[in-house]
Structure formats: structure tokens, C-alpha cells
Amino acid sequence: MKDQTTTTSDIAGIMLKATNLSHRVDLADDTLTILQGVNLEIKRAESVAIVGRSGSGKTTLLGLLAGLDTPSEGSVELDGATISSLSEDDRARLRAQRVGFVFQSFQLLPALSAIENVMLPLELGGHENPEAKAKDLLVRVGLGERLHHTPRQLSGGEQQRVAIARAFAADPIVLFADEPTGNLDNHTGQAISDLLMALNREQGTTLVMVTHDEHLAARCKRQLHIEAGELSEPATQNAPQAESIA
């Protein structure tokens, strides 16, 4: 482990902490180890990219960090709460309040319109005026004119913008993204990353992102490499590039 983790002494500044995390699944005749002894700390408002080859365990790690799944061994702390030992419903409540998601395949509910998709987490979190806030967010991602269109009527890039608006709707303190530009062309992908980074900075959100997109990874403050279920952090790449909305 290198400087980043060791220099952190302020516990309150740590947003996400994984300790000795392992994940195994039982297959028909033997056990497959997907993650092995992963340790990691991510500070508040930090942006971290997890990169690695396909099948190396990125998605699995992201799922564990976000509390979507529970590890076979080790623990995950999110904003001071040990989510790996919470019940599924408690984790759900925690997610509703503090976590946002962006997925590679957008994951919008096809039967709901754009604005309804964005309102969903607001309603689940018991927000005062979900409609106004959702509308505001959609305007900010440039979809003010498409509020009542359903996902099928939107392009991939537009759908992802709806998903980003949804991710930020409940004012999360951590945002998880799994290959947010993976399904988009270069140009659109660029626009989406710009949007993501800009909103992230504005809101002061902690961002944890899995990506194959080197440019996008480079825009994050830290890059973590994962290979065959083991995590490493290159010391070199430390200077964040300039971030701006194009």
C-alpha cells in the first residue's frame, strides 16, 4: 500500500473503507475466488476509477462496496456504517439516502417516463417535492424538453443522462458507476463523462467508477488496478487532469 492510504489519519474524512475483502462463489464442483484480500480507503469527495481486464472482478467489487451484495469475508464501511453486516433492508435504506448509481446499460424502467424515472428515488426517500426537483435535474442534464418521453423514445446517450439525473436526484454522498460510457460512442461518451464529473464536483459527491475508458479513468483523482481479484494502486499517476464541462 502506498502514500494515499497511510497519510489518512482523519477518520471522519474516510467515506468508504474495505478491509480484507474476499468474495467467493460456489460452483457446481468447486469454489471460485473472485476477490482476494482487498483493502481500500476512499476519502470524502474523492474520485476513484477502478480499472482492469474483463473478468478481473471490477463489477463484483463495486457491488460489494455499494452494499448490493455481501462479501464472503471482510467488511465494508460506508460513511461510518459497516454495511457488510447490515441486513438487506437496512442496506436498502442506506442506499436510498446516500448512494447513487449509474450503470452501463442505463437501467431505466421502460414503463416510466424520463421524469418519473428520476422521481423514483426521490419518492422512495420521502422527498418533499419530487417533481420539481426531478424537472430541475433533467433541465440541468439538457433534457428539459424530453420530460415525458419514455426510455424507448430516447437515444442511448439521452437515456444515460436520465440515469445520471436519477443518480444525483437524492443528493447521494457516494456515486457508483459501472462503465457509464461503455454502451456509448466516443463522442457521446465524452459528453456523458463531462456531465458526470461536473455534477460530481458541484455536489461534492464521492465517485467510485469502473471503466475501460482510459480518458475517463485519467480524469479521476485515483486509479485502482484490479487483476485476478487483487487490487493495486500505481503510485505514478497522481496529478489529476483539468476537469471541465466541454
Partner: protein, 828 residues
């Protein structure tokens, strides 16, 4: 409307295809079951009132001893809320213009009939009219033949005893026109208040007092319990269902309707199960997302339970909206047929099974897969999770089986029905397992190639789990539909056979031995085919094994047959529709012995070898029972309780002859000539009764047809549900095949072959299981004989193969019409 709320709105749900299928299945189920239940209850009350009108009441008490019953009996009946009416029947001479004739008089009071109507005419060419009561005081309605026999006219008068009465109408049909051998002479109907003035009825003269009762079943039964200890041997209590020609048919119709309803319940359950399972599978992504967004599993549970409740509501309301107009239409059909209005009443109780069907099929079939949605891992939003094949837990299946058969039982209250269906289904599943095994073995080695058949076989093998479950559902559906079709046709055949077109509709009774040849000549010259002539001797059964019969037969088993004269006959050939159930029919040249009708034998406890003693006039005749035979009482042919061999003990007794023949309506006028030529021969006209039975049978037939159509519609919905459940996968596969360069024609052909094979297997299985179920039902419920239905056995597999391959072809349409790229995107 909030987004979360909107997630459970029906309008939104309706946009989802699986929900549409679940809702359609529910709606059709509720509609079918409600239609059947409502219509059956309506039909039942209509039929019972039709059948009641065979008695002109619900119950009838006959005093055959010529003594009126105490007036308190009537008061008691009325006190219990029953309606009553009285009638007096006697034979008497009537005098017209210089002519006289023996008639069967029937005097009725103002309340007669309690059920049904009297049909009469004001002149021979006047239109027929119906009346809810008999003739007024001072008037008579007479059999049209009497006009000629007595040479009177409408408006003229005739005399009965000391009283002159005005002929005010021609009697066409009495509601209680069942025929008894006592009423041989032409009918004269009069008012009971006029009887005393005629002076022809005195204590002890041959007269029969009858009392009619109508009301609630429970009141009638309570009254009978009160009455029973007061009855004397000469009193006979009759209810509609006792041995009426029609009651057997009615019972079968009722059972058929129940069977239809039960099958509708089963079909609905299958459709709901299939569609909601598919729905649950497709909802997994949504659930994972909602969980990711922070909805607890409790919240998920609530969301979907709320949705189920909503569906139930939509299913019930929608189903009723369909059922009510159909029932209304069926009712007007029945009304047309009966030529009288049928009051439409909504029997709320009859709706219970429909509501239960909706609720139970939702909770036993839709709920389990949907409940399991709570367990969908949130992780699914990131990567699809293994171990989610959606295989049902065995517990769920157990619950489902118990639920559905509980439902059928609740509905039909017929254990044998439940067992027959359950047995059929079990047989089906057994064969299915064998088939699956054969499929795995047989198809494993087929490998793909550019040939539609090979591709189809490969596809069947690759999707063997799905293929087998599809075959299971298709064959179950086919089994249920076939069962109904088969039972229906054998039921209709049965009825058809019972009353063929040329059913004898007139009896000639009291033919003197020396007139037999003349009668035969008369009828032959008019090309009226005559049924066999039977000799008839009237006598009482007085001794059993040398003991007076009244002592030997206990009071309980007292039967009318002991109180009145029986018709005895002799014959050498067993009539075609009789069957010897015990002993042997007379041998050639046999002179001794007697053959007894089976029901009577059972009632009196008679066995082979018992010695019966008859009193005929002042003579005694005795014979040993040599055979017991069943008789087709509803065949409208002369039937006898006791048959002797020719040349036996009966030969020496004074006999007359009896026969029956079919007289077409347009030759009806020949009867007048016949009566003039043979004034001493009684003609018993039963053509109106037969007409009536026919119309009722026809009415039931119509109902059965209508219900069959509904059930078949339900079956189609099930099929569509199953096919569309696989739609998405198939389209994706098709699109991929095309993307990978598969030729369209190959794709089409292999899909059609695959579905045709599915359909064929399902057809074979379904028909086999249906035959098994029909065999059991026929045996236990309908008491018919089982026959193989080759036309069905052979045609159903072919029909279902064609039908399914067309279904498959239709499914492919979207795959063929758009570019594969677009399709893959749309199916994302």
C-alpha cells in the same frame, strides 16, 4: 400521480404484455365461470319449473282410494307457506248430440296449475293460447277428437251426469300431461266446483283425488315430514325427480355444466400461472433496480401484493362485464325456445365460484412466483446472477394442486369429477416424464445442419426444459378441452338416441283381439309403421311366495305398484331396449316363469325364484321369477312390469292389445277417422309431451354449446399465454440467427416444424389423457358406455400441430419484418 404509485397503476401494467396476459386470463376465467354459474342457476330454475310443470306442481299427493284427504292437510300446507291446488279425476260417460262417449274427466280448481300452463284453442283453426288456469265454472275444455265423437261444436253443450256444461275450448296440452294408463279415454277438463252437481262421483266410485303443492324445497320437505306418518297405503307422494323421463337428462346436463365450470377453473389457473410466472421473471430487473434505489423487500412485497389485488379487481369487474351480457343473451335464447319470457335474476350466490376462481388463482398461482421477487438480489443490476432459473419450488406446485382441486371440488362437489381430472392429469404428467426422457435420449445425437427438421429437433433438444413445460401446458389444455367436447358429444348422442325423430307418439290401447287385423290394415294403408303389438292383461300383484304381499313387503317399501292394477303381458322376444340383468330370458317353447322389471324388483325385494301370485279379475295366476330386466321408461313404447312367456298362464285371461306408433303432425287428422272406425280403442296422444321434452333437451343443448365455445376460448387464451411467454426469447433468437446469416425461409420452416412437433406431441398426450378422463367420467358420472372417439383421437394431434405452427409463424413476423439490428436493440 407519483412515479412509485404509477408503478402499480393498471394503465401502466396494461402496457406490459405479461400483465395483459394475466389480466386476459383472469377476465376470461371469471367470465367463463360466472357465465356458467349464472346460466346454470338460471337454467336450473327454468328447467325445474319446466319439469315441475310435468306435475303442474313441485309435489303431488294422490289418493287412489276415492276418498278426499282431510282438509287440515291443505291448511297445514298453506300454513307452511306452500301453494296448493286440487283436482279430481274420474271416468264417466258424457252425452252430446245423440252420441255418448267414455271420457277421462279431470276437474280442477282455480289454483290449478301451480306450475306451467294449460294450452287450449277456441276453435280447430284458432291459434293456440296458454292459460294459467283451467276452464271457468260451467265450462269444459275437451280433446279435439271429442268434437267429432260427440258431434258437438265450440259453444255447444254436453252433459256429464245431471249437469250440462258449455264446451268453451279445445284442450291441447295439460302441464301435467304425463300419461298414466288409467287416462285412456279422451280428456274433458272441467271446474271442480261443478263436480258435485253432476252427481257422478260418489264415495267409493273409481275416482282419484290429487293435491298439488308448490313452494320452497325446504318447506316442501318439512311438510312431507309432517305428512308422512298420516299417509295411508293408498296415498302416493310424487316429486318431480321421481322417475320422470326428463330428470335423467336434466341431471346429466347439470353435471355437464359443472364439469364445464370446473374445466374453466382449471384452464384459468393454468393461464394465470403461466403468465404470472413469466411476468415475475421479467420483473426481476425492475425489482433489482428498485432495491438498488433503496426499496426494502417489504416495500417490494407491498408493491406487488397491491398490484395482485388490483389485477384481481380488474379481472373480476372485467369478467363480469363480459359474463352478464352473455348470460342475458343465453337467457333470451332460452326464452325464445320456450316461447315465454324467462325472468332474468342475478343470483349473487352463483357468482361466488367466479370470485373464488379469481382470488384463488391469483393467490395460489400468481402469488408464489411474485412473492419470490422479494429475494431477487440487488446485485442483479450490475450483472445477471446465476441460480435464478426461476424453477418453481415443489411446495408451490403442491399448494397450487391443492388449491385448484379444492376449487373444483368446492365448485362441483363431486369427488369423482375431481379424481377423474386429477387422474387424467397425473397420467399426463407421467407420460410426459417418459417423453422427456425419450427426448433427451433420442435427440441428443441430432446435430444442426442446413435442414429445417434438423434445426427444429436441435432447438427442441436445446430448450428441452422449456419444450417439455410447453408440451405439458398445451397437452393439459387440450386434455381439458377434449374432455369437454367428448363428454358433450356423447351426452348429445345419448339424448338423440333417446328420442329419435320417429319416436312413437301415439298409443293405441284396448284393442280387442278381433280388431287387431283391422287396426293393422288401417295404419298400413296410411303407411304408418306400427310398433310391436303386445297383449295386455290387467291384474294386481297379491301374493309373494304364497304370502299376501301387503304383509311380506314392509310399509317403507310400499309402492304404488301394489295399490293399482299392473299391466301384465306375454311376449317371446325381449324388446330391443330391455336388458336382462339377472336370470335368463324365456327359452323357445318355455311356458312358465315371469320376467320382472328391475326397479320394481328392487323396491319389493324380489329375487330370482320368488313365486308371485296375481289376481286377475276373479282368477289367480302364479309364476316363478325367471329373469329380471331393465326397461327404458322414457322410450315412449309400451313397457311392462311383468312379462310372461307366450302360451303360459296368462293366455287364458281376457286380454286386449296395445301398441304405439309414430304419427307425423301433418297426418294428425287421420285420428278422427280412426276414432270413428274403432270407437272402443283408446288413443293416447303423447306427441305434445315428446315435443316438450325435445324442446327442453334442445335448450340444454344450446346452453352446452354456448359454454363449450367459452371454454374453447379460454383454452385459446391459455395457448396464447404460453406461446407469448416465450415470445421474447424466440424473437431474440430469431434475430440472432438472422444476424448470423440464417436464411429467412430456413428460420420460418424450422420454427414451424418445431412448433408443429410441440403441437403434435401435446395433441397425442392431451387426447390420451382426455380419453382416460372421459372413460372415468363416463363410467362414474354419466353412466354411459365408453367408446373410443377415433375421429378425435386422430384429428386433435394434427389440428394442434397445425395450430401451433401457425402460432409460431405469427410470432416470427416481427423478426422477419425489421432489420436484425433494430430488433436486437429493441430487445435490449
Amino acid at each position: 400521480m407519483g412515479a412509485a404509485k404509477k408503478l402499480s397503476s393498471v394503465r401502466r401494467d396494461w402496457r406490459e404484455r405479461d400483465v395483459r396476459v394475466v389480466l386476459a386470463a383472469l377476465i376470461v376465467a371469471v367470465a367463463t365461470v360466472a357465465t356458467i354459474a349464472l346460466f346454470a342457476s338460471q337454467l336450473q330454475s327454468t328447467l325445474i319449473s319446466s319439469a315441475s310443470s310435468f306435475l303442474a306442481a313441485d309435489r303431488k299427493l294422490e289418493a287412489e282410494n276415492g276418498i278426499p284427504v282431510p282438509p287440515e292437510w291443505r291448511e297445514e300446507a298453506e300454513r307452511r307457506g306452500l301453494k296448493t291446488a286440487e283436482m279430481i279425476e274420474f271416468s264417466t260417460m258424457v252425452f252430446g248430440n245423440d252420441n255418448f262417449q267414455l271420457v277421462a274427466a279431470k276437474a280442477v280448481n282455480d289454483d290449478y296449475p301451480l306450475k306451467g300452463e294449460v294450452e287450449y284453442q277456441l276453435g280447430e283453426d284458432a291459434p293456440r293460447q296458454v292459460s294459467a288456469r283451467g276452464p271457468d265454472r260451467g265450462n269444459v275444455w275437451i280433446n279435439p277428437r271429442l268434437l267429432r265423437l260427440l258431434d258437438v261444436e265450440i259453444g255447444g253443450s254436453l252433459e256429464i251426469g245431471n249437469k250440462a256444461l258449455t264446451v268453451s275450448g279445445l284442450l291441447i296440452r295439460e302441464p301435467d300431461g304425463g300419461f298414466s294408463m288409467a287416462a285412456l279415454a279422451p280428456r274433458v277438463m272441467m271446474h271442480s266446483d261443478d263436480v258435485a252437481a253432476t252427481n257422478v262421483v260418489q264415495q267409493g266410485s273409481r275416482v282419484e283425488y290429487s293435491y298439488l303443492y308448490a313452494g320452497e324445497e325446504s318447506d316442501l320437505n318439512a311438510f312431507y315430514r309432517w305428512l308422512e306418518p298420516r299417509l295411508e297405503p293408498s296415498h302416493e307422494w310424487e316429486s318431480i325427480r321421481d322417475g320422470e323421463a326428463l330428470s335423467q337428462s336434466l341431471l346429466k346436463a347439470e353435471r355437464f355444466l359443472l364439469l364445464g365450470g370446473s374445466l374453466a377453473v382449471l384452464l384459468a389457473a393454468v393461464a394465470v400461472a403461466v403468465a404470472s410466472r413469466q411476468y415475475a421473471m421479467n420483473q426481476r430487473d425492475t425489482v433489482a433496480l428498485l432495491k438498488t434505489l433503496g426499496l426494502s423487500s417489504h416495500g417490494i412485497g407491498q408493491l406487488y401484493i397491491g398490484r395482485l389485488a388490483l389485477w384481481g379487481l380488474v379481472g373480476i369487474v372485467g369478467g363480469l362485464l363480459i359474463a352478464l351480457p352473455i348470460v342475458w343473451m343465453l337467457n333470451s335464447l332460452v326464452a325464445d325456445l320456450l316461447e315465454r319470457p324467462v325472468d332474468f335474476r342475478l343470483d349473487i350466490l352463483a357468482l361466488t365460484p367466479a370470485l373464488m376462481t379469481a382470488v384463488v388463482s391469483l393467490f395460489a398461482f400468481a402469488y408464489p412466483p411474485i412473492r419470490r421477487l422479494r429475494n431477487v438480489p440487488a446485485m442483479r443490476v450490475l450483472r445477471s446472477q446465476p441460480g435464478e432459473s426461476g424453477r418453481e419450488a415443489w411446495l408451490d406446485i403442491g399448494i397450487a394442486v391443492v388449491a385448484v382441486f379444492g376449487l373444483v371440488w368446492l365448485y362441483a362437489r363431486e369427488v369423482s369429477l375431481v379424481l377423474a381430472l386429477l387422474g387424467g392429469l397425473a397420467a399426463l404428467l407421467g407420460i410426459l416424464m417418459v417423453l422427456g426422457w425419450l427426448m433427451v435420449i433420442g435427440l441428443r445425437r441430432v446435430s444442426g445442419g442446413g435442414n429445417a427438421w434438423r434445426l427444429a429437433l436441435v432447438a427442441l433438444y436445446r430448450h428441452r426444459r422449456a419444450s417439455l413445460s410447453q408440451i405439458a401446458v398445451f397437452s393439459m389444455t387440450l386434455m381439458l378441452a377434449c374432455t369437454l367436447v367428448l363428454v358433450r358429444s356423447s351426452l348429445l348422442d345419448d339424448w338423440q338416441a333417446q328420442l329419435p325423430e320417429d319416436t312413437p307418439n301415439h298409443f293405441l290401447i284396448n284393442i280387442a283381439p278381433d280388431a287387431v287385423d283391422d287396426v293393422e290394415d288401417f295404419l298400413q294403408t296410411r303407411s304408418l309403421p306400427l310398433d310391436t303389438l303386445y297383449p295386455m292383461v290387467r291384474g294386481r300383484l297379491t301374493e309373494l311366495n304364497d304370502q299376501p304381499v301387503k304383509e311380506t313387503v314392509s310399509k317403507d317399501e310400499r309402492v304404488g305398484a301394489l295399490n293399482r292394477e299392473l299391466n301384465l303381458t306375454w311376449m317371446d322376444q325381449l324388446p330391443a331396449d330391455n336388458r336382462v340383468v339377472d336370470g335368463e330370458w324365456f327359452e323357445e317353447g318355455q311356458r312358465s316363469g315371469v320376467s320382472v322389471e328391475a326397479e320394481l324388483a328392487e323396491k319389493l325385494g324380489l329375487k330370482l325364484g320368488d313365486k308371485l301370485g296375481f289376481t286377475i279379475g276373479s282368477d289367480k295366476v302364479s309364476a316363478e321369477i325367471t329373469s329380471i330386466r331393465t326397461v327404458q321408461w322414457d322410450s315412449m313404447k309400451p313397457n311392462f312390469y311383468m312379462a310372461f312367456p307366450p302360451g303360459g298362464a296368462l293366455d287364458a285371461m281376457p286380454a286386449t292389445w296395445i301398441t304405439s306408433f309414430h304419427l307425423p303432425a301433418e297426418q294428425k287428422s287421420e285420428l278422427n277417422e280412426f276414432s270413428r272406425k274403432f270407437p272402443t280403442i283408446s288413443v293416447l296422444e303423447v306427441d305434445h309431451i315428446i315435443e316438450r321434452i325435445r324442446s327442453i333437451v334442445q335448450q340444454v343443448t344450446q346452453a352446452i354449446e354456448a359454454i363449450l365455445v367459452l371454454i374453447l376460448a379460454a383454452a385459446l387464451v391459455v395457448m396464447a399465454a404460453v406461446v407469448s411467454a416465450t415470445l421474447q426469447d424466440r424473437q431474440r433468437e430469431g434475430a440472432l440467427l438472422r444476424t448470423l446469416g440464417g436464411r429467412q425461409s430456413l428460420l420460418v420452416r424450422s420454427t414451424m416444424v418445431e412448433f408443429a412437433l410441440l403441437g403434435f406431441f401435446a395433441g397425442v398426450l392431451g387426447v390420451a389423457a382426455a380419453e382416460a378422463a372421459v372413460w372415468a367420467l363416463q363410467y362414474r358420472m354419466f353412466e354411459g358406455e365408453f367408446r373410443w372417439h377415433w375421429n378425435v383421437v386422430l384429428s386433435i394431434p394434427l389440428i394442434s400441430a397445425v395450430l401451433l405452427s401457425v402460432f409460431g409463424r405469427l410470432q416470427l413476423r416481427p423478426v422477419l419484418e425489421v432489420s436484425p439490428m433494430l430488433l436486437l436493440r429493441r430487445l435490449e
